[in-house]
Amino acid sequence: MEVNEQIAVDHGLKKEEYKKICDLLKRVPNLTELGIFSAMWNEHCSYKSSRLHLKKLPTSGKKVIQGPGENAGVIDIEDGDAIVFKIESHNHPSFIEPYQGAATGVGGIMRDVFTMGARPIANLNSIHFGSSQHKKTKNLLRGVVHGIGGYGNCMGVPTIAGQTSFDSSYNGNILVNAMTLGLVKKNKIFYSKATGLNKPVIYVGSKTGRDGIHGASMASASFDEKIEEKKPTVQVGDPFTEKLLLEACLELMAGDSIIAIQDMGAAGLTSSSIEMASKGNLGIELNLNKVPCRESKMTPYEIMLSESQERMLIVLENGKEDIAKKIFDKWDLDFAVIGKTTNSKNIELIYDEKQVANIPINTLVENSPMYDRKWKKTKLPKKNLIKKEEFKKFKIKEVLGKILSNPNVCSKEWIWQQYDHTVMGDTIQKPGGDSGVVRVHGTDKAVAATVDSSAIYCWAHPLTGGKQVVCESWRNLISVGATPIAITNCLNFGSPEKEENMGEFVECVEGIGEACEYLKFPVVSGNVSFYNQTKEIGIKPTPSIGGVGLIKNYKQMITMDFKEINNRVLIIGKTEGHIDQSLFARNILNEKNGPPPEINLFNEKNNGETVLQLIKGNLVRSAHDVSVGGIITAVSKMCIKGNIGIEFDKPKYFMSEIEYLFSEDQGRYIIEIEPKNLKKVESILNKNSVHFDKFGKITDKNMIINGKTKVTIDELKAYNTNWLSNYMN
């Protein structure tokens, strides 16, 4: 088939991009070459709309071993240990085929981590669905949860934390973001940079099939009514093979055979071979007849663009082929030498003894398009003026019942009980806490991880929202006693070709960058997912932030359950009564306008560091950050988990009870202190100029507010625990 402009457009390329390809090659590409360009130049692989802005994120720091640009980021957790981690989206495939889409999302991110030599030790996920009333939501949720569990459980990696939200903006485009943490010795990290000429390039893992062809291009376009036709672009996962691949790769990595290794993720063999060669400033030659194929008569085009899962490409040291083959044979995996590194700086493909493609690698990578898209700034919305009398008509208990059973607040146990969260025997904080925590096997250390997003705040004001979600991640780590180290981000947005959506992206990234810089909480890996929209309706901007922190002595880990009667409860951070964009405003007042709560990075840092100081001084018995739903929601969860009550009075502020209890001001924590330590704690807080409220004390089994409203723990549990399981059954 002769390639022409129309064929290029059908591959998702723009006319001017096609012209650029012809100019760079100084000829018309053949179909295989065009396929390769379309795979490398799509938004998913090239970051053409986002690169310019991502450059502004802080990516280095004392603890950063590897920032963005590799398969995953790497941070130092001392004693020669390092954590490899990354989050990635699998939104489009999961909407088309929820089980396989979610499963292969989990498989893909685990491969990114063990490609670097790390054994995966924890999985997390952030999943977002349309309104609970929408006809597709239930099936999508069930499919995604089964898919995540199906893959992660089989791999034997615990799923330790996550986040689930419902919002009608995801009706036509759900989000599935999967995150993995792996543990590696600092001196045994593997990278994707190929070095040396004439080194054997080997293919290991599953065979290549016709599944997932053009998956990355599909993920770079919006949905329309023909979505069902896109099912063949979704990959099919095989967690069993991935488990074998993991063990085989780690076995090979224990020796010194590997020069470079790269998993075949988006754009399969194309991007893996090109990335390895590009990083090493080398050429690569592949004989496609040598590629193990599932089906006969696959064309070079299909072989290069297949996104079959559970495959790896490795550049080996000369003479190590036999050692490597023996290991992959032991694990019943395919192994084939399919090519070699060259000095041509081109990718050259041979099929049936003919050259079927020959492209200079720099045209695919360095010369890929980069756009400075037009974008529109979002003004800070005006505050709503809500009359004080307005609040008086609400009964606290009634409102609390509605908030605790809200789909975005209620317990997600129905979900995480379907994930194996205890395999590997090191999970010391299970899902449902502020962060999941796993011990670093055989040591006193533990690693905490959390994944967060706040689409409502980001939608209302992207700059503030971007800052807020980083701060929330930081708080969730501190609340379990972990020192925050770094983040990974998954940036889910609508079309970059629309000024509003591009503006949301630019300003969220700016907010993220500002908060990361201030908190010394760098971004070490991530992924951008644009075109999350069906027809013209885009999702709310949803950057998901995966935060990782270290607990030096795991016995100092903190959980949120209230521990002991008569202990005192303090609220750290100032309550201003910010109601706009709170769950209360949106769901009870039905008011959707107004600015999100303000972020004060100085207070955020100071409050957080002080809470951590108290925890490290063994002065805190339980802690929880205040987020969606305000103080009373946070306190309710602490009561439910501890199966114990609390008595409290609203401090003498110039605001109503409702404003105090349901407002969503930032930078706040709730901590439980033993009476004997109260003076000491207060003096540390005062010394650090941290605002705090003496809030209440722990009692046996009721929540008593201002001596008049009484809610039993059983009532709180009923509000909070039943919604999701009732909905799904």
């Binding site: 089964h146 569990g149 199906g150 459980n153 089989c154 791999m155 034997g156 095989d238 967690p239 069993f240 093979t241 488990k243 074998l244 694990w331 019943d332 995480w416 009980q417 379907q418 994930y419 194996d420 969260h421 205890t422 395999v423 590997m424 025997g425 090191d426 999970t427 010391i428 011990r439 795991y554 016995k555």
Partner: protein, 227 residues
């Protein structure tokens, strides 16, 4: 005391079991499924996981592994063989214990703590345990124990039920059954009681920072019984 944990392709609790056995005094060896001979052992454990991806019936492919002939011979000669979770499924598929394991009644994977009752103590596994109700951890998709009425009668006549799901007071009613198992059965012996298959994972409950410590009681007692 020597023990052996078999690693099948897709096993994923082999390391956890290895650690637990060593922690409580066993000298454990990990044995590859393709080996033909078991090392000299006082206890052989088939660990949890997804052997061969559980793509056929759970445990059925693994039950045909090279090592299994040696495990079956060891069991038939009176050796102690314990199968946990996927290991239990392999025991069932090998015919070493009666019955089958079906998909959970609510068709979902379940990972949580459950209470179990152990009152059958005339055997090397539970002899000398000084309590009956334990908090154990389960994590499975196919733990719904099923057998024919005739088999059930035989199992009960021979006192082969090892463990029941129950509540914290030891009540073994249907509502405390997480997966739909016949008679709340969580674990079962062969007739001679040297082979034990069970769904709960004691190896995940071996220190207070984890889901609990009842697994420690089980392992400590087990090694003392074998000594």
């Amino acid at each position: 005391m020597k023990s052996a944990v078999i690693t099948f392709p897709g096993s994923n609790c082999d390391r956890d079991m290895h650690i637990a056995l060593n922690k409580f005094g066993f000298k454990n060896k990990i044995v590859w499924h393709n080996d033909n001979e078991l090392p000299k052992s006082d206890l052989v454990v088939l660990p949890g996981g997804f052997s061969y991806g559980d793509y056929l019936r759970c445990g059925s492919m693994a039950s045909k592994s090279a090592i299994m002939q040696s495990v079956i011979n060891f069991a038939k000669s009176g050796g102690l063989v314990m199968g946990i979770c996927n290991g239990f499924q392999i025991l069932v598929e090998s015919g070493l214990v009666p019955g089958v394991l079906l998909r959970n009644k609510y068709l979902e994977f379940i990972c949580k703590n459950v209470f179990v009752k152990i009152d059958n103590k005339d055997n090397p596994y539970f002899k000398n345990l000084d309590k009956e109700i334990f908090e154990f951890h389960i994590a499975h998709n196919e733990g719904n124990y099923f057998c024919t009425n005739d088999q059930l009668k035989e199992i009960e006549d021979n006192n082969q039920v090892a463990i029941y799901y129950c509540n914290k007071n030891g009540k073994t009613e249907e509502k405390f059954n997480p997966n739909g198992s016949v008679k709340n059965i969580a674990g079962i012996f062969n007739k001679e009681k040297n082979v034990l298959g069970m769904m709960p994972h004691p190896e995940r409950m071996i220190d207070q920072s984890l889901s609990g410590e009842d697994g420690s009681l089980f392992f400590k007692n087990l090694i003392n019984n074998i000594k």
